[in-house]
């Protein structure tokens, strides 16, 4: 705890000194009468100034919340000695706002009197937020001496991104071997009808198509597509972002990643995550609710970290990118390293779709001058970049803020369905 004298103490001390010496020099008793109140205030103030023995604790009603939720917080304060005036301030991180309650607050605290202050915090933005530190300042009754310190308790609030509801997700080009919800292109045991073929030894009797067999006068059996699971890798580019106010491309990308992870996990598909940026993060594909929580928790720590290190796709562990996996890239396509990594993935034969989280809505067009030309050139270069990715066989769709993610996915789906490789 730091003790310090307020400007008032110095002022009163100076006035007392000047007054007393002047009274002696000029031999005027009135000057003593002018000075005595300040001396009395000094004496009384310093006699009453007792250092506080405070305990301050901040607790949250919940440790996890969704974007937009309100969370109750309680500040418990108690002091073994009386505190005439106590100023309390809980520092709230970016992304957390005060919805209700008083912060900062000034109050009086009697000895051994427990006080609880209720705050309602509003989770504005996803992320792992640390509430605090809590600063407090105690003063003596006359405000001559103050004590300042910081409370140790700093509870953490994990705010998860609010997810969209997706009616259907992107299908992959290839499926995996385990049972799932995706109709495979290959033929095998399943429900979805695929074709009819002549009977062969070993075929089950229940698969014989009796009507077709009667018409062809030969035994024909039904073939079907099996339902398989898929591996999806969500590739989140965190090298750079465009931000305007409280919203940015990273926020959109993180929310979309959480939405996609949730949608695929519900289908019992295996989902993995690659956070490709200044800090590289990855999660090996896995299925189930625990994997979904792992992904969302990993997303909360995603942030833009400035880095000049040239990262290539080789830095990603091999197990993170299983064969036949569908890779969905979410990137503002602002950094050459992430664009290079996406092209590299495609060159290695991965089934790749890119959602271009457009930075254009976050960068207003300049009004005049050369800036306008530069802005137009930048947007043209972005178009050219998307075209380059499309030429490489990557489904790229520009996603502007305000457009539902489902609409973007449908565009990607349409591209993947109708686009064909151009052969020279």
């Amino acid at each position: 705890m730091t003790r310090y004298a307020t400007p008032k103490l110095a002022a009163y001390a100076s006035l007392s000194a000047v007054g007393l010496l002047s009274a002696l020099v000029f031999a005027r008793p009135e000057l003593v009468a002018l000075t005595a109140p300040f001396l009395l205030a000094l004496g009384a103030g310093l006699a009453l100034a007792t250092p506080p023995r405070l305990t301050v604790a901040v607790t949250l009603a919940e440790e996890r919340a969704l974007e937009g939720d309100d969370v109750a917080a309680t500040i418990a304060v108690e002091s073994a000695t009386p505190v005439d005036r106590l100023d309390l301030y809980v520092r709230l991180p970016d992304g957390i706002e005060l919805a209700e309650g008083r912060n900062p607050v000034a109050l009086h605290l009697a000895a051994a009197e427990p006080r609880e202050l209720e705050l309602t915090l509003h989770a504005v933005r996803w992320g792992g937020h640390v509430i605090g530190p809590t600063y407090f300042r105690a003063r003596d009754p006359l405000g001559l001496v103050a004590w300042e310190s910081t409370a140790e308790t700093r509870p953490q609030l994990r705010v998860y991104p609010r997810e969209d509801v997706l009616r259907r997700v992107l299908p992959p080009a290839e499926t995996q071997v385990f049972t799932g919800n995706e109709v495979a292109r290959v033929k095998g045991e399943g429900i979805e009808f695929a074709d009819i073929r002549p009977w062969a030894p070993g075929d089950a009797v229940k698969r014989i198509n009796w009507r077709a067999s009667a018409r062809k006068d030969d035994l024909l059996v039904n073939e079907s597509h099996p339902e398989r699971n898929i591996d999806v890798i969500l590739f989140l580019d965190s090298f750079a972002e465009a931000r305007r106010g409280d919203e940015g491309t990273l926020d959109l990308a993180v929310r979309a990643t959480a939405t996609l992870a949730d949608a695929y996990a519900r289908r019992r598909d295996r989902v993995g995550l690659i956070g490709f940026g200044g800090i590289l993060r990855w999660l090996v594909p896995g299925a189930g609710l625990v994997q979904l929580y792992r992904i969302v928790d990993a997303l909360l720590d995603t942030q833009i970290v400035l880095s000049y290190y040239w990262k290539e796709i080789d830095v990603i562990p091999r197990r993170t990118l299983p064969p036949n996996a569908l890779v969905i890239g979410l990137s503002p396509l602002l950094d050459a390293r992430s664009v290079g990594a996406l092209l590299d993935l495609r060159a290695r034969g991965f089934d790749l779709a890119v959602i271009d989280v457009s930075p254009v809505p976050f960068t207003p067009r300049p009004a005049r001058g050369l800036d306008v030309v530069a802005y137009d050139l930048w947007t043209l270069r972005r178009d050219a970049l998307r075209h380059r990715l499309q030429q490489a066989g990557v489904a790229v769709v520009e996603w502007n803020a305000g457009t539902p993610l489902q609409a973007v996915l449908e565009e990607v789906r349409a591209f993947r369905r109708f686009a064909r490789h151009a052969r020279a």
């Binding site: 705890m1 003790r3 000029f26 002018l34 109140p37 250092p51 109050l107 405000g143």
Partner: protein, 140 residues
């Protein structure tokens, strides 16, 4: 001269309050006190109103300090405001009482000679040194 000192005191006080400069307040009080003493220049009798003027100066200092310290961002409990007002009132009453006693004592023994004056100087210097020592102590 008394008028000039009073005007200067008012200007300094206003500046301190408007610009939230606590360092101008003591100067304003010094000039206000000087203005009062200047009005008493030729008088040999002790003025009984000095005790009231001293308390008014203290009240000015307390209210100015309260005003400068006040931060609208900090929500203050109403009980705390009442408590501070009561503290200031009690301090002023106590100061008034002390001043009456002091001036009464000064009226009884108006000329005490060199030894008492030396003791007064020593007491004043000791008081100032003690206060300055307290001011410079930081931390614990």
């Amino acid at each position: 001269m008394a008028l000039a000192a009073t005007v200067l005191a008012l200007v300094l006080l206003s500046l301190g309050l408007i610009l939230r400069w606590p360092n101008t307040i003591p100067w304003a009080l010094v000039f206000a006190g000087a203005g009062y003493v200047a009005t008493r220049g030729g008088e040999s009798l002790v003025d009984g109103w000095a005790s009231v003027v001293g308390v008014l100066l203290l009240l000015t200092a307390e209210l100015a300090s309260w005003s400068i310290e006040h931060d609208a961002r900090i929500r203050t409990e109403p009980a705390l405001i009442l408590r501070r007002a009561a503290t200031v009132a009690a301090l002023c009453m106590a100061a008034l009482l002390v001043n009456f006693i002091l001036l009464a004592a000064a009226g009884v023994s108006s000329s005490a000679g060199i030894p008492i004056a030396a003791a007064g100087v020593a007491a004043a210097v000791t008081a100032v040194a003690t206060v300055l020592r307290l001011v410079t102590v930081r931390g614990r």
